[in-house]
Structure formats: C-alpha cells, structure tokens
C-alpha cells in the first residue's frame, strides 16, 4: 500500500498549478477532463482559479515594466522544498455553500469558456497575452486585437497598432490575422503585423506565413485541405517582410535577422534607430507617448539618427537628439518642439 501523502496542496496552490498548466497550453484530453472535473467539484475551486488567473495575467503587466536580463545563472534546486505544512484542511464553509455552489459553479462554467477576447494596450504600454491554444500575442503601444478561438480556426483581428504573434502549432486550426483587408495565415510560426492607416506591414521571424487579400484567404481556408497555391496568395518566409498598401499586391523584401530583431525591439520596451531620418524616429517615439515631439525645422527632419531608446523615455530621446544634432527643445504644453539651436550655414 502507498503511504498517505504527508502534505496536501491547498486550493490556492492547486489553482496556481492549473493556471500554469493552462498557460503552457497543450492540455491533453485527460488533463482537460481532470481540470473540468476539478473546477466543477467545488465553487471554491472556481473562485481560486479565477483569482489566480487574474493574478497571473496581472503579472504580465508588471513583467513589461520589470525589464529583461534579471534572470540568474545556474542555482541549486528548490524542488525538494514543500511550502505547505501538513495541516488538515478545515472544511468550514463546505456545508454552508454546498447548495449554492452548484448553481454558481454551473453558471460560471459557461462563462469561463467564452472564446472571444478583446484585448488592447494603452499608449506607452506593451502587453503580452497567452492565448488558450498556447500561442502568444505581444501588443505594442496603443494597439488592439480581437481574438476568436473556435474548434475550426483561430481568428485574430488587428483593429489598430502592431502585434507580434508566436503561434502554437496546430494544423487542424489555421491561425489567421486580419488587418484592414489583408489576411495573414500561419500554422506554427512567429511574425508581427503592423497597421498604419490602410497599410499593413508583416515581418516574419520564424516559419512561413501566407499573405493575401482577406477575401481570397477566407476562401482558401474554407476549401481548407488543399495545399496547392491559390491565386493572389503570397508566401512570406522567415527573414522576409511584406508591405501591403491597399489595392496593390504585397511587396516582399528580405530582412536581416538583426534588422528583424531591431524592428521588434519594442517588445522589450526599446526602440532602436540605425540611420532612419529624425522624422521617422520621432513618429516612432510619438507612438509610445502622450506628449508629442514636433520638428519645426524641415532640414532637421531628414537628418539620420542612430541610437537605442526606451520607448516611453521621451525626455531621454529629446536630450540625446538635442545634444547630437545641435538642436534646441522647447516645451509647449504637451508638445515638445525641436529646432536647430543655430542654423547651420
């Protein structure tokens, strides 16, 4: 006979474990059944899970502020430690809530499984979201996506801004990002999509995606099984970038890995310039900030800029620009005006 375990995980610890497992994705059918049964067993389980999931999601907000590179090198194991002393649980509330629990549990069960999510980020905010299928989305500043996961497909609408997608492999459910009237289809890959007005900019860092007019891509999806190339569908591979202006075929150009990394620096809260015009750099910084920089001198606007900046550190950017370009900044309410300190000959 097996000895009785000497420790029991508390409900909050079990909830933490389920949140971690669900976040990792890939619950097997057995695990899913186990999770469902656990959720239904006791309304406290559901409550503990909701609370833990909210905390987990909230940690992503802090993670964006935490900064990178804090991870430690190799260190001894914490595996053998148990956090819970061997305390038998007092079931104080069990009787009190037995009747109510069933109704609340059932209602909540259906609510837990809504599959449409509207996710947005504020100005200056970078938000990382784990989707239920194991994929993740990182939203750049002032961006919004609507996520719909069904058994047939995974649909994400980029309403505004820019997002980086890391797609969990699932052949049976294509992952489609819609931006304006362009569709981007992936199976298991990583890519970013940026929407500026009606222009869509797709950069692929891993795997292959298919880019097409939304209409033809939807058609291709409904015909599904066929892998034959369909008219108007353009494949974009890793280290390539596709720019789709409305009513024109995609322009695909190569992107060096370093360049792709640089273009995605925003996910770490950074932005980096390597010879872009000050005009471009300023519009990038402005995306991330409520205060806006205005360049008063047209000749200043085309000067090339090099440097790495925190996206939300508008003052740091201004100080660097002023020093490097012999410019002067004047604050005008929420506007910061840049002009030459003295006109060059």
């Amino acid at each position: 006979m097996k000895p009785m375990p000497t420790t029991v995980e508390t409900i909050d610890e079990l909830a933490a474990r389920w949140v971690v497992r669900v976040d990792a994705g890939d619950l097997s059918a057995d695990e899913q059944r186990e999770f469902d049964a656990w959720l239904r067993a006791d309304s406290r389980h559901l409550g503990a899970y909701v609370r833990a999931r909210a905390q987990w999601i909230d940690l992503d907000r802090l993670a964006a502020l935490y900064g990178r590179g804090h991870a430690q090198p190799h260190s001894p194991s914490c595996e053998p430690q148990r956090m819970t002393p061997a305390v038998p649980r007092r079931r104080l509330l069990a009787a009190a809530v037995a009747g109510m629990g069933i109704l609340v549990g059932t209602l909540s069960w259906t609510m837990l499984h809504r599959d449409r999510q509207d996710i947005s980020s504020g100005i200056g905010e970078v938000r990382r979201i784990a989707l239920a299928d194991g994929s993740s989305v990182v939203l750049n500043t002032n961006s919004e996506v609507i996520v719909e996961l069904t058994t047939q497909r995974r649909n994400i609408r980029l309403v505004r801004g820019e997002a980086l997608f890391e797609v969990a492999h699932d052949k049976s459910r294509p992952f489609i990002v819609e931006a304006h009237d362009t569709g981007v289809r992936a199976v298991g890959t990583a890519f970013s999509v940026r929407l500026e007005g009606t222009q869509v900019d797709v950069t692929v860092t891993e795997g292959v995606v298919e880019v097409a007019e939304l209409k033809s891509l939807s058609g291709a999806v409904s015909r599904s099984a066929s892998t034959a190339p369909v008219d108007g569908i353009r494949r974009v591979a890793a280290h390539e970038r596709a720019i789709i202006a409305s009513a024109a075929p995609p322009v695909v150009q190569p992107v060096a890995p370093a360049e792709a990394q640089r273009r995605l620096a925003w996910k770490d809260g950074m932005v980096s310039f390597e010879g872009e015009s000050l005009r471009t750099a300023v519009s990038e910084i402005n995306r991330h900030n409520r205060r806006q920089i205005v360049i008063d001198d047209p000749s200043l606007a085309s000067v090339p800029v090099v440097g790495v900046f925190r996206t939300t550190d508008i003052d740091g950017f201004i100080a660097a620009a002023a020093a490097a370009l012999n410019a002067r900044a004047t604050v005008d309410g929420d506007l910061i005006r840049l002009q030459y300190a003295s006109h060059p000959e």
Binding site: D12, E13, R44, A48, L65, C78, S108, D118, R128
Partner: protein, 199 residues
C-alpha cells in the same frame, strides 16, 4: 456592448478592480475574526471570487463595496447554516457592512511601488524557482525552452513555476501597504464596540 467582454477582459477587470482590495479585506478578516484560521479566510475569499466571476461586471459601480458586500453575504450564509455561531460574528458582519459602504481609501500602488514589491518577493524565492519564474514570465520563454536551457524536465519546470507563482500570489494578496495611513484601517472598527482585547 454589454456582455461582450471576453474572458481575458474579465480577468483583467478582476485584476484591476478586485485584486487591489484583497490585502485590505484579508487584513480586516484576520484582525476581526480571531476564531477563524487562515484556511477559513481563504475559503471566504475563494467563494467570493466565484460569486464575483458569475456577476455582470458592467453593473458593478463600486468594486470594493461589491467585494466586501459579497464576503459579508457569505458570512451571513455561513452564520445561518452553522450550528455553532461565535456570538460576536453577527456583530462583525454588521461592522463589515459599515466598512463596505465607505468610499474606501485610495489603495492602488503606483506601478513603481508594485514593481518594487514584486522584486522583493521574487528575490526571496529559492534560486531555481526564481530563475524559472523570471525566464518564463519576464523573459517570455516557453516551458520547453526553459526546460532545455536549465536541463530540467518540463514537469519540473511546471512544479517550480507553480511554487513560485503560488508564493508570489499569496505574498501580493497579504502584503501590508506601506503607504497606508494607520488610522484608515480603523475607521469602521471604532464605530462598534471594539478593542475586546483591552480589558
């Protein structure tokens, strides 16, 4: 649109509107319900979150009041069903009623304070737990990548992560807010016969 809030938005609503009040609620329950063990307080909190999850958030005007009222309601149910009710519990339920109707002090920490609190908690984790948590949550690596990088099984990664997260979650939920003016905690308490311990 009403009712169109997705799951993630609902969790985020809870994170923004309910979680910040949990330390205050726990502190209150711990101070006032001396007959109850921490486990019992956990029960009330879990049950409250289950009830709140079932609610239509669009109708909740004051989340703090709603949280406190939910717990008060649960305690009332408990008192009615329980064979042995500590006699002072009924009075406590009333005083919770008072505190839940107050507008409530501003308890939100600044992002900087939250971050400092989180850093302090993470720093106290056992080293390997801490590394797993940081790689996964802050560096954004997958379970598989962390397992590969640290030469551990994915199951072990899950165990470390669960332990790290459970500790962090409990530490955040039970922290005392350094910026709290001390008298705020007592305003409601003093309206009823308080300080039983004084005699």
């Amino acid at each position: 649109m009403l009712g169109a809030m997705g799951d993630l938005a609902r969790y985020r609503w809870i994170a923004t509107n309910i979680l910040p009040h949990e330390p205050e609620l726990r502190g209150w329950l711990r101070r006032r319900l001396r007959a109850f063990a921490d486990n019992d307080i956990d029960d009330f909190i879990q049950e409250a979150f289950a009830r709140i999850w079932a609610a239509d958030f669009a109708l909740i005007r004051n989340p703090r009041s709603y949280l406190f009222a939910t717990v008060r309601h649960l305690m009332g149910e408990y008192a009615r069903r329980s064979r042995i009710v500590p006699i002072e519990l009924l009075g406590e339920i009333e005083s919770l009623n008072l505190i839940s109707d107050e507008p409530g002090p501003e308890r939100r920490l600044s992002a900087r304070q939250e971050l400092d609190a989180l850093r302090a908690i993470v720093a106290k984790l056992p080293p390997q737990c801490r590394q797993v948590f940081e790689l996964l949550k802050f560096e954004g690596l997958s379970h598989r990548d962390v397992a590969k990088r640290m030469g551990l099984s994915e199951k072990t990664i899950e165990n470390h992560l669960t332990r790290a997260f459970a500790r962090i979650a409990m530490a955040l939920a039970t922290r005392t807010l350094a910026g709290d003016p001390p008298d705020l905690k007592r305003t409601a308490d003093e309206t009823d016969a308080d300080d039983r311990g004084n005699d």
